[in-house]
Symmetry: C2
Subunit: 343 residues, 2 copies
DNA sequence: CTGTTAGCGCCTTCAT
DNA sequence: ATGAAGGCGCTAACAG
């Protein structure tokens, strides 16, 4: 007892019009009398008709190509995103959508903007790991103006015309770290060290802001050491950390805001104080997982790269079909990963 | 300069066979000489052909109907799942897949098993919030035997023939809570109270196990009070909590393993010790969010209901198409939610 | 303004 | 063992 699903032609018959007219009404195309529109809409409503996606896709026969503008000097996190994109390719190509990854120096506004402007027009939509800079913003706006969908990935340019930001709220991430460190130190007094890659990176600055905000307001037992910048480099970070450890016997917590976690971690281990000093870092990698297991790191803040990759593709796909992305589904949260809830 | 994508007919032409033969090879159907199979496969490989999903779906014209066997006396978490399923309906019906929610008493093995056996055959696949009980296991195995895909949701029956479990590792969730409480108490001595709904529920028992395991092994400063069972009921939980608070001036942490969090929370607030006693509960709801904001709750463990709903549908869909679900994408992690990283 | 018609790319009888 | 041909439900070009 399975009845055939309602098709467009059923609506046409019931409404006493042709399928072409129903199609026009369905897509709000002009050239249909108001009265007819109403009648068709009523019929659609009455029959509970939903156009078959597969048929529509096939008939439209259009394909899409999306570009991902990613940093060239890959770190583990970015590599994960790229790897996940690669993993989706077969499935996507079965839906006639193609993905290209374009490498660039995302730290150089000029280079990034040029890449966006040059590569952008080849695509139906692009995802950009963006630096928040006027020059970059202009290039994004220009593309958007030209009808190419732009989404920002991992790092946002809030004031631009990007259609969507896929990534976490870095201030919230920082606040979370602040609370974690505050709670983990349990009221004991001591010094807290923060190591950023570069404070001219929006995400690093925001994380730092959130973290210090919470600690300053709620954990008077903790004192900040001056923020260091290590360019996300293991060597520099190791040196910086060594300085902190040696000069501060009362060092109680370290927050590595960016990459270069190996440099920080190894120095803590070498100092013999790894298990006493609270250490919070970002991104789940084999290294940070090991640190969690060993008790070197106490928590890792993660922004699920796989999910961000899939989300970016979904959003770009939705945009190129003129459908609204489902905000709730695309929300990327700040994830706290500890030893016991590692993926 | 956009070249037409490779279609099945291109493969047919290149291989010197008909489209029907290519189709047979593509789906491993019999009736093709070994040599031909090889030739066609090579051609597919060489051209990088991927069958167009939309066209395949359309031509197959099949539809699917999935059943969700859910608890009848809804709690907020289950309601969220149902609400999310409802939200997906329009999109799914455009893909010719329908969803039915079947209510039942999931705590009564007999009732649950009967529902599974009765409702199951009407569907192409079902998702069950399952109780781990021989009677239930048998009904799942029977359905699976009959070729109906079964996935367990939220609560697993590991030894059954279910094709997939969509939910968190509750032992890991418990261990996470143990670590959180251990860290948050920062070495101070005190008593820890645990309130379960019922220890005959697998998930509650597992959470308790994980939590006590960690605390017993790593936080000798903490002592357990005897586990209470409050049937996930606010009233019972309030009473239980009152007992704990009044009789233990050194109560330092409370873990509510199941639902009925309002009962626990309100009692803590009334006692005036809410901010001093560490309180960890499960599931993000308006209530627990408020508790986090107020400092009544210190952390909430979440198993994203929306994600589980979507995952269940994706997995059932994949199964009914004889495709393997993508394990990585369907992994549901234990999420730690604190005041600063609330969704 | 509205209808006719020819596909989109694959699957599925039915022949051969 | 293989091929020919007719859809699946919707869209778009072209008539009228």
């Amino acid at each position: 007892m399975k009845m055939a699903p309602i098709a467009l032609k059923d609506v046409a018959r019931e409404a006493g019009v042709s399928t072409a007219t129903v199609d026009r009404v369905l897509h709000g195309r002009p050239g249909v009398r108001e009265a007819t529109v109403r009648r068709v809409k009523d019929t659609i409503e009455r029959l509970g008709f939903r156009p078959n996606t597969a048929a529509a896709e096939l008939a439209r026969g259009r394909s899409a190509r999306f570009g991902f503008v990613m940093p060239e000097n890959t770190n583990a996190f970015m590599e994960e995103i790229v790897a996940n994109l690669a993993k989706m390719r077969p499935m996507l190509s079965a839906n006639r959508i193609a993905l290209d990854v374009v490498g660039t120096n995302v730290f150089d506004p000029e280079a990034l903007a040029t890449t966006i402007e040059t590569a952008g027009p080849h695509f139906d939509g692009i995802a950009v790991v963006a630096l928040d800079h006027p020059r970059v913003r202009a290039s994004i706006d220009e593309l958007a103006e030209a009808g190419i969908h732009v989404v920002t990935l991992v790092s946002d340019v809030p004031s631009s015309r990007r259609a969507h930001y896929i990534g976490v709220d870095n201030t919230a991430a920082g606040r979370t770290v602040g609370s974690l460190i505050g709670r983990f130190t349990g009221g004991r007094p001591g010094k807290v060290a923060m190591i950023a890659g570069s404070l001219s990176l929006r995400d690093h600055a925001e994380r730092l802001f959130g973290m210090t905000q919470v600690i300053a307001a709620e954990y008077p037992n903790l004192q900040f050491l001056p923020v260091a910048q290590g360019c996300d480099d293991d060597g520099r970070n190791a040196e910086i950390t060594r300085g902190f450890v040696e000069q501060n016997p009362d060092l109680i917590a370290v927050y590595n805001i960016g990459a270069g976690t190996a440099g920080v971690g190894q120095t803590l281990i070498d100092s013999g104080r790894a298990r006493d000093i609270i250490f919070v870092a970002h991104d789940v990698t084999p290294l940070t997982q090991r640190y969690l297991l060993l008790g070197v790191a106490d928590a890792v803040i993660s922004q699920n790269p796989g999910r961000q990759a899939r989300s970016a593709v979904r959003v770009l796909t939705a945009l190129s079909r003129n459908e609204p992305p489902l905000a709730e589904q695309e929300y990327i949260g700040v994830e706290i990963v500890m030893r016991d809830n590692m993926p």
